[in-house]
């Protein structure tokens, strides 16, 4: 899944709009998929014990095309990153980015 064109936009959004620190991008092995990681300015969920590095997958939202990310690919990302969750950085065609947690397996809703 080639998402190289979205990486810069998501990095800019994270560091300048969401005020994240240490935002970097990496290319996953055996794949043309890029991931972004960084440190959020505060805990993202009340269930988190401490601030930790988060992994963001930039993906493009298109109205008439559901994209090409399968659940098998999602499993591969989790396998390589060995992380609890990844964050989908969904890039809209107007340059805005929305972020969604994606957990592997069944997870409980977060506490408010």
């Amino acid at each position: 899944m080639d998402n190289s064109e979205l990486v810069e936009l998501v990095k800019t959004n994270l560091s300048h709009q969401q005020l994240w620190d240490s935002v970097r991008s990496f290319k996953l092995s055996n794949s043309d998929t890029w991931m972004v990681n960084g440190l959020p300015p505060h805990k993202l969920s009340n269930d988190d014990e401490e601030l930790e590095t988060e992994w963001i997958l930039p993906v493009e939202l298109q109205q008439y095309n559901s994209g090409n990310m399968t659940l098998e690919m999602a499993d591969q990302f989790f396998a390589e990153l060995k992380c609890r969750r990844i964050i989908l950085g969904i890039v809209n065609d107007d340059g805005t980015v929305v972020y969604y947690f994606m957990y592997k397996g069944l997870h409980k809703p977060k506490k408010n």
Binding site: N13, Q17, Q18, P40, L44, S45, V59, E60, L61, Q62, Q63, S66, G67, N68, M69, T70, L71, E72, A74, D75, I87, L88, G89, I90, V97, V98, Y99, Y100, F101, M102, Y103, K104, G105, L106, H107, K108, P109, K110, N112
Partner: protein, 282 residues
């Protein structure tokens, strides 16, 4: 397990789109104990899920019916056929006997009513001759008892329950009627983890998953229709809209990928789940 203590699931309707219904209140209690709540739909099928005070029959999801029979807890009763087959077994001598039994019950009632009438007249100090008997009134007060369950059909149901070939046939017919066959594997995988499941249309999914009895717990997840693990892409527009709705009602939006090798012994690991919710920023 002997056929007699299994739960009877009636398949009602025609063609492949049959609706599984349970009519026996004791069976409904048993189902609740094994984590199948179903939906009571009696008298108002159009608004079944919105009303908690409806009566039998209990409507089950197709996946529930398939799972219950596969695990040997229940058996199928083919709705319309069992009535016609049962009716065809009736002989004329049985009809005659039924008619005689009815006449016998009428005769007993007449005797009883006349006696009651005589006692009432005596109490009021009127002679019985004064109150002339009105046969039309007496006849119209006779009571016809209609049993709530048919013994003919229950015999036929038992016969169907003990016919494995027929059960297999009904099971496959019901399964073939499913629009998304992967959903059954998702249902089984969730059931193995002791979730209560109910239909998910209220929150835009295929199932709603509760961690226990829905009367005690809020649901945790809206499970989406099963995706093909290797081929189906994750629809991001659905992630955004489903994720917004899910976060609003405090449910995780769950996608399940089913690995495609049909008819193989399907185990829990054949289904991969991912839980999605809004990250709270952006």
């Amino acid at each position: 397990m002997d056929g007699s203590n299994k739960i009877g699931i009636s398949l009602v309707g025609s063609g492949n789109g049959r609706i599984p219904l349970v009519f026996d209140i004791n069976d409904i209690k048993k189902l609740r104990d094994i984590g199948v709540a179903g939906i009571l739909s009696g008298t108002l099928p159009s608004a079944a899920q919105q009303n908690g005070f409806l009566s039998v029959p209990l409507r089950l999801m197709v996946e529930e019916a398939l799972w219950l029979t596969e695990t040997g807890v229940a058996f199928f009763i083919s709705g319309p056929e069992s009535v016609t087959t049962a009716a065809e077994t009736v002989t004329s001598s049985e009809m005659e006997r039924a008619r005689q039994e009815l006449e016998h019950s009428f005769a007993e009632q007449r005797v009883f009513k006349r006696q009651q009438h005589a006692e009432k007249m005596a109490r009021l100090g009127l002679s019985n001759a004064e109150g002339k008997e009105t046969p039309a009134l007496l006849e119209s007060s006779l009571f016809v008892e209609i049993p709530s369950a048919s013994s003919l059909i229950s015999n036929e149901a038992k016969r169907q329950g003990n016919d494995p070939a027929q059960q297999q046939k009904l099971w496959h017919k019901l399964k073939d009627g499913c629009t998304n066959p992967g959903d059954y594997r998702v249902y089984k995988a969730l059931k193995q983890q002791n979730y209560f499941l109910s239909p998910g249309a209220r929150f835009g999914g295929r199932f709603i998953a509760y961690p226990g009895d829905p009367l005690r717990y809020h649901s945790h997840m809206t499970v989406q229709p099963a995706l093909d693990y290797r081929r189906d892409p994750l629809n991001l527009l659905q992630v955004v809209s489903g994720g917004r709705l899910g976060t609003g009602v405090k449910k995780l939006w769950v996608v399940a990928g089913v690995r495609a090798h049909e008819e193989q012994e399907d185990i829990e690991s054949d289904v991969s789940f991912f839980s999605i919710e809004w990250a709270g920023f952006g």
